[in-house]
Chain length 463, copies 2
């Protein structure tokens, strides 16, 4: 494709893209398609002959688009929000145009150095001390695996005799990461949580003592600031006390909530993080940039390198002693130029703009929680420190149990079937909870109001 053909096609796409961003709220958030519908609409084999772009973009609109879940829809309240913003999209267009590999300094010096500077900006923004050095990983799953492998490789005892600790509310990537790093599920201790779904340090202490008494070696503790189910906040200081006592790697997973630490009033949720060995947050969740962009901070860079460096002959350069080669900081050799979108987004919004955005989201969540808790029949299922509200509807006289869970499961299905909003669920203390997570740049009070109206309507129309 000649650059001028690209120019014409890209201008056409840009108009489509801008229209989409302006009208995404008119699509059903989640498509109603049945499994197989898209598969069956596509040829079983690749075409031999070239096809015109008009046919390709037509099929995109007619086949793909109706099968997409719209993560940037104002009514998208599922999982955690995605940080996609128009300014980040602009940056990604440039990143893709350059098409640079950022595995080594030499393979794109500016990309490496911008990543260093962006990690410094972020570190300061969330109040990490300068004993931490940052690197962009693709996802929190990867960054947690990186932390667990680094912790494993510090062990002087066999892996089979080591243990990993996390709260029972920790993200699935912690248990998965431990398994991938070579710990069996039986070597992972899930510590019970308190009423706010935060890890109970006293119980962690008991587990550690018992394991050490049994001849096991604690390899790592993963603390979660902002659990996926309910944004529970593990207390870092008492956990760090234990990590220090047992000489154990302390990894802090703040994938969603870490961004909130750019607000001075919420900085306390990270109190104690300065004592951790590693820390991750996902700007791609709540800090205005597209997936994928996980910021991973470590104190002992040398330990990271011992596990992850690999410099084959063909990648050696004369600059190596004086530069950073990010291939030595994670699993992948190849790396996209991810720092550019952070640079664009932070400058376009300014720290104050990002703070205002987060405060707006948190206020909307708080107001939703207040309204709900003040309405008969509804109850909050967990504290609401950030942008996530967990709740359920409880008909008069209905006690905890399968019937109440089913009632709320049905409510959720009915609300989602509207196509106007998409909420997901969690299991909290074994009880079914509906989750409303907000925080996209496109989130509006009107959409939150609509969710509330739909929820109330779903109760009225319950069979």
């Amino acid at each position: 494709m000649h650059p001028n053909e690209f120019r014409a096609e890209a201008h056409r796409l840009v108009d489509w893209m801008a229209d989409y961003l302006g009208s995404v709220g008119s699509y059903p958030v989640v498509p109603s398609m049945l499994p197989g519908a898209v598969r069956n609409a596509l040829p079983a084999s690749a075409p031999n002959a070239a096809e015109p772009m008009a046919a390709i973009t037509r099929d995109f609109e007619q086949i793909i688009l109706p099968g997409m879940t719209h993560w940037g829809h104002p009514g998208f309240f599922a999982y955690f929000p995605t940080g996609s913003t128009p300014v980040s999209l602009l940056a990604e267009m440039l990143t893709t145009t350059l098409g640079a590999q950022c595995m080594s300094w030499q393979t794109s010096p500016a990309a490496t150095e911008l990543e260093q500077v962006m990690m410094e900006w972020l570190r300061q923004m969330v109040g990490l001390p300068d004993s931490f050095t940052g690197v962009i990983q693709d996802t929190a799953s990867t960054a947690t695996l990186v932390a667990l492998i680094t912790a494993r490789d510090r062990l002087t005892t066999p892996v089979a005799q080591a243990t990993v600790y996390a709260s029972a509310e920790a993200h699935s990537s912690v248990l998965k990461g431990a398994r991938l790093a070579g710990f069996s599920e039986a070597q992972v201790r899930l510590v019970p949580v308190d009423d706010a779904y935060a890890l109970r340090p006293a119980l962690l202490a008991e587990l550690l003592a018992a394991d050490v008494a049994a001849g096991l070696t604690p390899a790592a503790i993963v603390a979660t600031v902002g659990t996926t189910a309910s944004t529970g906040l593990d207390p870092l200081h008492p956990i760090a006390d234990l990590a220090e006592e047992y000489g154990t790697w302390l990894h802090v997973d703040a994938a969603y909530a870490g961004s909130a630490a750019i607000l001075p009033e919420l900085r306390p949720i990270l109190a104690g993080v300065e004592r951790a060995d590693s820390f991750l947050m996902n700007p791609h969740k709540w800090l205005a940039v597209h997936f994928d962009c996980t910021a991973y901070f470590v104190r002992d860079v040398a330990a990271l390198h011992r596990s992850f460096s690999a410099t084959p002959e063909y990648l050696r350069t004369t600059h190596d002693p004086e530069v950073v080669n990010y291939r030595d900081w994670g699993i992948q050799l190849g790396r996209r130029f991810r720092a550019l979108k952070l640079w664009f987004a932070i400058r376009h919004h300014g720290v104050e703009g990002l703070q205002a955005m987060l405060r707006g989201h948190i206020a909307m969540a708080g107001a939703f929680a207040k309204r709900l808790s003040e309405t008969a029949g509804w109850e909050l299922m967990a504290p609401v420190p950030l942008g996530l509200v967990c709740f359920r509807h409880r008909p008069d006289g209905m006690a905890d149990g399968a019937a109440l869970d089913d009632h709320n499961r049905a409510l959720l299905a009915r609300v989602n079937a509207s196509g106007r909003v998409f909420l997901t669920h969690a299991s909290l203390s074994g009880r079914f909870a509906i989750r409303l997570a907000l925080g996209h740049v496109a989130t509006t009070q009107a959409a939150v109001d609509e969710a509330w109206t739909l929820l109330q309507g779903a109760v009225r129309s319950a069979p």
Copy 2:
């Protein structure tokens, strides 16, 4: 940013992008910047206030661009090529606009199903039997790690008593992947290669026999089709014989060369792959799509899932029994919608168009190799089956050794200093070789000719 502000900015960027694609050949391929130059040009802290887009894009052009290595430059002959194409760029613009997470079918049904179909198209295009099922991973590093973890988890003996085998020319990601999967370097056997830099099966057989005799369990063999240094081609049938004899996982790393199997005349380089357990190729290298896009094919999907599935409560959906949830197929939970660029690129070029592109690259490499080998003073350092030529210049009477290596190292530095081309090096049988790897969609005969002219000029100007 309002969608209409985005529209205006994006139109401006598209013109810049098209101009860049049309003029990338006028930039120095590798910047001459010194370490720290970009870092020092940027503020040490994030701006509090929002900045205008004009300032951001100006800084992009004035600070970042002069520090970039241009992977899409016609004179970029380093490493392996990148598959960035204009049509893939168009697809990535849409992928980013949608901003969808593709971890589960429900989180974007069309993305999951398009990925299934694209993996089927690719499987057929390279001639893999339908006993293989594909999934997109980000990089070959990750896919190889996935293969090694899957192989490790099948072991019934402790990992510490297991061994991994690959040729001495295998990519650094194999040894690194083995380490990350929990094998020590001492448990990895690097099998010597023959004169064409292909693994010697007889020596692999000896190592396997000796290890088993010593009570060790062979966990995995990694065969490479198209080594990084010189595109050496490991013979798959004799290696598969051994893998079957020892009940060992056979992983085939065809990151670069796998794409060549879309040419019927080169299909034989994969002869025997049908007996492998897993196979990877990087469409982002030589099949017209942007990084990142590694196609990973496995025969035993259940084994993959045993190692990688993780379905926490909050991700369960009613569709789970009848759909594919790609979060269970790899390390990361979060996934970009990578299938779209494959769909756009394969349809836009057609299989015939992709075949013609590859044949053109291979012919250019062959012609360069022929010309070079027919010119006094130059010698090929390895066979040239694909798009990579390894060579050196040998002044009259200079024997193998440090002086000859230094002579070629200096030649390479002089040629690269021109800013017109970028070639890298390899160590082959301990001898310094210059590598010319071609295969970008922008590669032209004129650029290859210029490389040859520059190389000859560098010899003439040697001190």
